[in-house]
């Protein structure tokens, strides 16, 4: 069924509770106000995207006499929260006489220009991206520009394009094709380190990525993605040539929210991703990259506490863009990633605890990045920041002996 049933009958709580709106039209003028609402339905995607308060107000409609003003009010609030083009409420006959059900039809935007992402990092410089999406039915065409000096060991600048079908025979199945083309720039630390380490693959000037992926929602909190990534890059230096890193991709994601109890709102997110590059896919590299991530958040009122753990390893020689990083704007903040490991690492463990109260946030990060044959050295950092809506200003310090230079970060949507 396309729509998900929000809730069943609830107790006779008064309609609207704390969100009472002025009634502009007398309810009794609508002939359907004598019927009882038995259900409120909205698309599965919309259901997961609305706030807890709005979901509760939707549930309060059930069991009450139909109120067109209330129906229109929740439709408007759904539209505002989901930031969609329109939400059209429809009243249908219920399953039993004198009962009706409300179905919310959500019409997404035809064109969606994403808010640009910008980040200034005192050791990495400026990173940013902007996307535009054209929406036609279940299909989305996205094109964007990116220049990112944060995520990988190199700065990559170029275009990202994506086609996505969000209903491949079912709402549970999605298909995505992505094509990216980047030009790379390298930090001098990476250039110096590469000459001393013959185990790590070389530099490249340009990189293209083609990635077809199918995502299946196995259950409400569990999605599985599988596909392939075809990376082609032009190596630098004398004898430059084209190399391929073609890999099979698998990603398993779990996301669950819990509400109620003394801890208020809790969420658990777990992710495992695997990339296996093999000669069978005509790849010049043969390796496997495993990465786990677990994030638990508990929020109550203006406070929230998050715990994040990440682990990963790479077996076999992998190109530099596959190698793990710490010392970025999101992992082991406060450290300079090129000081930690200018070539990235093939092993990583990381843990972060973050506390937020209103605008204020404080975090403690710890992690290690290394290669086989090297010692695993755990490093720590502390930081504080202010986060308001999509804006972030933060500073973080590496915890170490001697002089510690802080890292400053100013971001929007990062």
């Amino acid at each position: 069924m396309k729509c998900a049933l929000i809730s069943l009958l609830i107790s006779g709580a008064s309609l609207w509770g704390g969100n009472q709106q002025p009634i502009l039209q007398p309810v009794e003028f609508n002939v359907n106000s004598r019927y009882t609402v038995e259900a409120v339905e909205l698309p599965r995607e919309a259901e997961s995207g609305i706030s807890r308060g709005l979901r509760q107000d939707l549930e309060r409609l059930i069991g009450q006499k139909f109120n067109p003003t209330a129906m229109n009010d929740v439709a408007r609030r759904i539209r505002d929260e989901l930031n969609v083009r329109k939400v059209v409420p429809r009243l249908l006959r219920g399953s039993s006489p004198d009962h009706v059900k409300i179905v919310m039809d959500v019409a997404g935007k035809r064109v969606d220009l994403s808010v640009p992402r910008l980040l200034y990092h005192s050791s990495e410089g400026l990173s940013g991206s902007v996307n535009g999406t054209l929406i036609a039915g279940d299909s989305r065409f996205t094109a964007g520009l990116v220049s990112d000096g944060d995520e990988l060991v190199e700065r990559f600048t170029g275009i990202r394009t994506r086609y996505e079908n969000r209903h491949l025979g079912s709402d549970r199945v999605r298909l995505r094709f992505e094509f990216d083309s980047y030009h790379e720039q390298w930090n001098h630390s990476t250039l110096s380190a590469l000459g001393q380490d013959s185990q790590v693959a070389g530099l490249y000037r340009t990189r293209q990525n083609f990635e077809p992926v199918v995502t299946i929602q196995v259950a409400k909190p569990l999605t599985v993605s599988f596909g392939a990534g075809f990376q082609r890059f032009e190596t630098e230096g004398p004898g430059e040539r084209t190399q391929l890193a073609n890999a099979a991709i698998t990603d398993v994601q779990y996301f669950q929210q819990f509400e109620g109890g003394v801890f208020g709102q809790q969420s658990l997110q777990a992710d495992y991703s695997l990339r296996v590059a093999t000669r069978a896919l005509d790849s010049d590299y043969a390796y496997s990259r495993h990465r786990w991530e677990l994030r638990y958040t508990v929020a109550r009122g203006r406070q929230s506490l998050s715990e994040e753990a990440v682990g990963g390893f790479i077996l076999g020689p992998a190109p530099l863009f596959e190698r793990f990083q710490l010392g970025t704007s999101s992992m082991l903040r406060g450290w300079n990633k090129w000081e930690l490991d200018p070539l990235g690492g093939s092993r990583v463990v990381y843990n972060s605890v973050e506390y937020r109260y209103g605008f204020f946030e404080a975090f403690y990060d710890a992690g290690a990045i290394w290669d086989p044959g090297q010692d695993m050295v755990v490093r720590h950092s502390l930081g504080v920041g202010v986060r308001k809506n999509s804006f972030l200003v933060a500073t973080a310090f590496p915890i170490r002996g001697g002089r510690a230079s802080p890292v400053f970060m100013v971001g929007m949507n990062y």
């Binding site: 039209q25 007398p26 003028f29 002939v31 359907n32 229109n72 006959r93 009706v100």
Partner: protein, 211 residues
């Protein structure tokens, strides 16, 4: 004199197309004398088949459970150009909804007399609304040439505050609403007849009387 270049034509054409596309459709129909009747001192419009306001998009909304509010005015003037009516126009406000179980319309008149009717077909509901718009023609010579204008609008939220008060409907404010043209996005319907003489209009007895 400024030369009109092709880009100007293109811009003007595109602009006109966009504006016409953005504006809500208006239905303008011509009434015959058979579409009118006299009931004592009241002039009424019968529901002509060509004057349908419970169709198209409004009908879709009603079938989705929405409540639609229509403002209606029937006025009489001495010429087709005259803006001043000969007598105080008849105005009313109708609240329409559609019963999703019985698939019938319900209408409530919230004007001078509050009345509600249900279990109506679309045509019957339209007829009921027009029948509850009686124009008092007391004192109008029966041999005088007259122009009759029927206007109907979907109520705009900006008008609602002035029209609907704690004590009910403000008829003077409702007449003022019709003195301004309908807004671009406001659904509106118009019908006119004239010149006609009252002596040429048939007489018919109905129950509802003008206030």
């Amino acid at each position: 004199m400024r030369k009109v270049t092709r880009p100007w034509w293109l811009t003007a054409g595109l602009g006109a197309t966009l504006l016409s596309g953005l504006a809500a459709p208006t239905l303008e129909v011509r009434l015959d004398r058979d579409d009118l009747h006299l009931d004592g001192d009241d002039l009424r419009v019968s529901a002509p088949a060509k004057f349908q306001f419970l169709s198209g998009k409004p009908l879709e909304k009603l079938k989705d459970g929405a409540t639609l509010v229509y403002l209606a005015q029937l006025s009489l003037s001495a010429s087709s150009e005259a803006s001043t009516p000969l007598v105080r126009p008849a105005v009313n406000r109708f609240v329409v909804s559609y019963d999703v179980w019985e698939e019938k319309f319900s209408v409530t008149s919230t004007g001078v007399e509050r009345a509600t009717v249900s279990h109506l077909s679309a045509t019957a509901a339209e007829g009921w609304c027009l029948d509850h718009l009686p124009l008092l023609i007391d004192g109008i010579p029966h041999d005088k040439a007259l122009w009759i204008k029927l206007e109907l609008r979907a109520e705009d939220a900006r008008d609602q505050a002035g029209v609907v008060g704690d004590s009910g409907i403000n008829l003077t404010r409702l007449i003022e609403v019709f003195s301004n043209p309908a807004r671009a996005q406001q659904m509106h319907w118009e019908a006119s007849a004239g010149p006609l003489r009252l002596e040429d209009i048939k007489r018919e007895r109905r129950s509802s009387r003008s206030g």
